[in-house]
Symmetry: none
Subunit: 182 residues, 2 copies
DNA sequence: CTTTTCTTATGACTAGCTGCTAATCGTAGT
DNA sequence: ACTACGATTAGCAGCTAGTCATAAGAAAAG
């Protein structure tokens, strides 16, 4: 069935969206137009060719370079006394755990604690110098991690922050962060 | 470096397994043999061509709810000998640094090293038990961090992995990870 | 009836293969 | 030394699913 160019383009986008594995030839048959017309439409719509599309689908879930959340702070700070204590919460999401075991990847707990340690120091250029961490118990997806930080050694050069993270009442993470002023 | 056919075939399987997006030409270069040899090896091993491989990857995680082969890794692993050594690279992006100082937030370096430590252990349920890390030098946006991991203590219960990360030749991160098998 | 837009056709080119045949290399056995 | 053998390399036709550029024909709009 022949349709208007507008309509065909709309349908084309939809069709490809829910079946990225379709070739131009198949599309041509489906819309009763020539392959060339499909190519024209695709180029006008900025839709890449089949192989590129497949690759994109493959990459979205295979891509190794998975970044951590791009927020300045991992977790939500709910209490903060500068240079004293701080508390943050982090809800462990489905994609922060190992798909096989369902256990939260360690670096997320580290990131939460590290963020908190940085936040507690009243300095614009505070960075972590050293850290000593321990994962006490595995955390599952859906659990809420509460991190409690306190400055255990006040020093302008090397303040030390201790972070304890809990799920309910259970200690899941212990960390000691030695900071440095940038 | 030339190797025996057996060894090459083994390496070929591994290489393709953790990077299905590699062409025969690239493989030929990597193993210092001709493209024809790679094709021969592939056909003997029953490994399909690039496009088919990509399609398989795309398909398995298109209709798949629970992907098992999902390697959640921060950074790109460029070399891996299970239970021995591993190397990964991570390009520090604009939004992985503190907006004020431009210094990479520590947990990204930790995440890279932690991922590598998990990957090196030949176990589906390996998790980090303890870690001792040190940030030697600040890393700026745009810099490429190369993490080198090696198993320093082989143990079924508590293997220890040492990770050293470099920017150019400079050591920027040192970490010791004590793993536990889930 | 023109003009413009749309559609289709054509030819030349590409990557990354397959499948086949033929030649060469190095090593080992007799 | 000769030969046999496995491993390697080379070359070529053909394939898919495209690319780009150009041109010509059809349909719609002015």
């Amino acid at each position: 069935m022949k349709q208007s160019k507008q309509k065909r383009k709309q349908d084309l986008v939809e069709t490809i969206e829910n079946n990225p594995f379709i070739t131009d030839e198949a599309l041509a048959k489906r819309f009763s137009v020539s392959v060339q017309t499909i190519r024209l439409d695709r180029s006008e719509l900025g839709i890449p060719e089949l192989r590129t599309r497949i690759k994109q689908v493959a990459e979205t879930n295979h891509d190794d370079v998975k970044a951590l959340t791009n927020e300045e702070i991992i977790g939500e700070i709910i209490d903060l006394q500068l240079d004293e204590t701080a508390i943050s919460i982090l809800d462990i999401h489905e994609d922060q755990v190992f798909t096989r075991s369902g256990i939260a990847r360690g670096h997320h707990l580290f990131a939460q604690a590290n963020s908190l340690a940085v936040a507690i120091i009243n300095d614009e250029f505070a960075v972590t110098g050293r850290a000593n961490v321990r994962f006490m118990r595995q955390v599952q997806a859906g659990e809420r991690v509460v991190a409690k930080a306190s400055v255990t050694k006040k020093s302008d050069d090397w303040p030390v922050i201790t972070v304890n993270s809990y799920v309910d009442q259970a200690l899941v993470f212990k960390g000691e962060f030695v900071m440095s002023r940038g």
